[in-house]
């Protein structure tokens, strides 16, 4: 299956194209407006600040004890009958998963929503090995039918409107063309039920992995996650290694923060907590459960006190819902698995700054992302940190650091620095700029495509105040 491809290298072109597409603009604007309003309402009677503090402390505690907790998670999972596997990177994880499938002679895999498997392009890997992988989350299913990738981490098909989805369902699954949402949903239900029954393996993500009890928590509304983890004889759960939490009680506040931040729900339809395969006397559930812990750059992020905060993320998507840039360019423009603000601080570590150097600057630093983050990730500060890494002034802890280094730009900033640290020259220079204001070009590159050119004032504030002092003296 050929998949529509976007790349972070082409952010500018992709963003320009999205901005010029009224349908995309309208789809995202209305969806994000709705999600922002729902989130706001859902926290109405809660002490949100205190809850966010709690969420942040839970994630920070888990990260502070990460290696110990991963070992504890492994031991408790194994004791529960869940086999634990460790993967260095996406390719390694794909190989492990493929081998688990092959060991069962699997031909057909059904998938629950999992961004980490998107990150490692698992579907393509399995298909190359002759194993068909079908997405079962409705949004993911539609996106897969449409030969695309998700444009949002919670709502994968948010870029498509009802008419476009009606076309996809008709063209790709052969149902009679309808734009009735219930009818399309019912058709997908019927199609996917067959696939659940036929699947040899179910692959899911994980929202929280509880070290204390060896429990895998999945948060969802549709029930496809429960189907995926219950119906096929094998369940493989895949997670980034940062998703571990210490105690079961830690799940309660994180779950609340996740559902309210993501979609403004006080709870999702299902919180599915899995602590083992089917026991001898049980009548359903998978015979085998595997957990694949994926590093893929995360242990690198972990090394740095500031960057570490990136790993607090619980993948709610609130930062993209509230991002004025994401709202306008949509998810695909970023060309990364994780779009929006969280993607711009995470993707450089996963893909390197050479490919992603334009993402940390794709923000006005308005701070809306940090303001809504349920675990208080200082996203704007991390964007600035990655800008420093990109121009080679950081600590060099990020792959591809210095990828955006430019001699000309550095010289310009050095010149600015000289001027701004020589007050006499600064006053002289700004005064001259005022005198020459008539010569200010009316076209200033891209700025004046949208706005009039700013003209220096005739007299600077420095000069105005000096004049005023003289007048006072004279008077």
């Amino acid at each position: 299956m050929s998949v529509q491809t976007f790349t972070p290298r082409a952010f500018h072109e992709q963003a320009r194209e999205a901005l010029g597409n009224p349908q995309i603009r309208a789809n995202f604007r209305s969806a994000m407006d709705g999600l922002m309003a729902k989130r706001r309402d859902s926290f109405g009677d809660w002490d949100l600040e205190t809850l966010r503090e709690l969420g942040a402390s839970i994630r920070l505690r888990a990260l502070a004890r990460l290696p110990d907790l991963l070992e504890r998670l492994e031991a408790n999972c194994e004791a529960n009958g869940i086999r634990v596997h460790w993967a260095e990177d996406g390719e390694h994880a794909c190989r492990l998963i493929r081998e688990l499938c092959e060991a069962r002679g699997a031909r057909s895999v059904i998938k629950g929503k999992s961004m980490v498997t998107e990150e490692m392009h698992l579907n393509a890997h399995l298909e190359a090995a002759g194993i068909q992988a079908l997405e079962s989350d409705l949004g993911e299913y539609l996106v897969q039918l449409n030969e695309q990738t998700p444009s949002h981490i919670i709502m994968p098909a948010i870029h498509l409107n009802t008419d476009e989805i009606a076309d996809v369902m008709h063209d790709k699954t052969g149902i009679e063309r309808t734009r009735d949402v219930d009818a399309m949903t019912a058709a997908a239900r019927a199609q996917l039920r067959e696939r659940f029954m036929a699947a040899d393996v179910g692959i899911s993500g994980v929202n929280f992995a509880v070290a204390e009890t060896g429990t895998l928590c999945l948060v969802e509304n549709e029930g496809n996650g429960r189907m995926t983890t219950t119906v096929p004889p094998v369940h493989i759960a895949v997670t980034g290694l940062e998703k571990v939490v210490e105690h079961l009680r830690d799940v309660a506040p994180l779950y609340s923060l996740l559902t309210r931040s993501a979609t403004g729900q006080h709870a999702t339809t299902y919180l599915n907590m899995i602590s083992g395969p089917r026991k001898a006397q049980e009548h359903d559930g998978p015979e085998e459960v595997h957990l694949v812990l994926v590093d893929n750059g995360r242990s690198g992020i972990y090394q740095d006190d500031e960057l570490l905060d990136t790993l607090r993320c619980i993948r709610c998507g609130a930062c993209m819902n509230h991002c004025p840039v994401y709202t306008r360019v949509g998810g695909h423009s970023y060309g990364t698995t994780y779009p929006g603000p969280i993607g711009s601080i995470l993707s450089p570590h996963l893909m390197g700054l050479e490919d992603t150097k334009d993402l940390p600057t794709a923000s006005s630093l308005c701070g809306a992302c940090g303001e809504v983050c349920p675990v208080k990730i200082p996203i704007p500060d991390l964007l600035v940190r990655l800008r420093r890494e990109a121009v080679g002034e950081g600590r060099g802890n990020v792959r591809g650091a210095g990828a955006k280094r430019s001699r000309a730009e550095l010289v310009a900033w050095k010149g600015w620095q000289w001027l701004a640290t020589h007050p006499g020259a600064w006053r002289g220079g700004t005064a001259i700029a005022g005198k020459l204001r008539a010569l200010t070009p009316s076209r200033l590159g891209p700025w004046t495509e949208y706005r009039t050119a700013p003209k220096p004032a005739k007299t600077t504030l420095h000069t105005l105040l000096k004049q005023r002092r003289h007048e006072e003296k004279d008077a």
Binding site: D33, C366, A390, Q417, T421, W447, T448, R451, K455
Partner: protein, 251 residues
């Protein structure tokens, strides 16, 4: 967001940090800010050697250059007087980021001390001066755009609207998505001109749609951006720094 700040009693003297955008493009706004403070009986000291807070380089990733420029400002405020900044963006830089910028340097304590004295102009007028305004202007509908730095970094979503609320003839109208960024973002407007352009277009349309005859803001970056957009498409709506607007209507 910064925690709730305890405000001092009204002082006899304050420093005024004009910011580079005011100095070069909107000097009247700076002067009007000073006039508002002086009318409250406060002596305003304008350190002659001030240039720029360093934020443009800081947000562009050039921290060394930003620190050098910021360092040149630190010595300008030797007395323990409040430092008034007519911009949430520069104020946020000085109050929130100076301590981090100078962490583990010999200037750390000084940077913290200076940061603790920084007030955004509208914040100072509301919380320290308890400003009363005697409105002499005509009845008018006005929209306020509070900059993202003032709103989120400094936690000052309410001070600008509070001041406008004290003008008897002014009806404050709220534009749709008032809290959304106007798309300026310093070098963002240059690095991502199309996205920035789309954002300022939406912002300027929202201000018009709210029925505003005029809009004010407390940040000259947003002013340059939004007013530039309105002027570019020959809108009747004009923008102004809030200091100028307040002074104009009450003097």
């Amino acid at each position: 967001m910064t925690p709730v700040k305890l405000y001092p009693a009204k002082p006899d003297k304050v420093y005024f940090f004009g910011t580079c955008l005011v100095d070069l493009f909107f000097p009247e706004a700076g002067l009007d800010g000073i006039r508002l403070l002086e009318r409250e009986g406060i002596e305003v000291i304008f350190p002659e050697d001030q240039t720029c807070c360093g934020q443009p380089a800081y947000t562009s990733g050039y921290q060394d250059e930003a620190r050098a420029v910021a360092e040149a400002q630190l010595d300008l405020f030797p007395e323990p007087w409040p430092i008034i900044v007519p911009s949430g963006s520069c104020g946020g830089m000085m109050r929130v980021h100076y301590p981090d910028l100078f962490a583990d340097t010999p200037r750390e304590a000084q940077a913290r001390e200076v940061a603790g004295r920084v007030f955004e102009l509208t914040e100072f007028l509301v919380h320290v001066c308890h400003l009363r305004l005697d409105d002499r202007g005509p009845a008018e509908k006005v929209a306020m755009h509070t900059s993202c730095s003032a709103r989120r970094e400094m936690g000052l979503a309410d001070t600008g609207p509070a001041l406008l609320g004290r003008l008897a003839g002014v009806e404050l109208v709220e534009q749709a998505r008032a809290a959304e960024c106007c798309g300026f973002g310093g070098t963002f407007a240059v690095r991502h001109p199309e996205v920035s352009g789309a954002m300022v277009e939406d912002k300027s349309r929202a201000i018009e749609a709210a029925g505003a005859q005029h809009f004010v803001t407390s940040d000259c970056g947003c002013l340059m951006n939004i007013a530039g957009r309105l002027e570019h498409r020959k809108s009747a709506v004009r923008g102004e720094h809030i200091a100028s607007y307040l002074w104009r209507r009450t003097s």
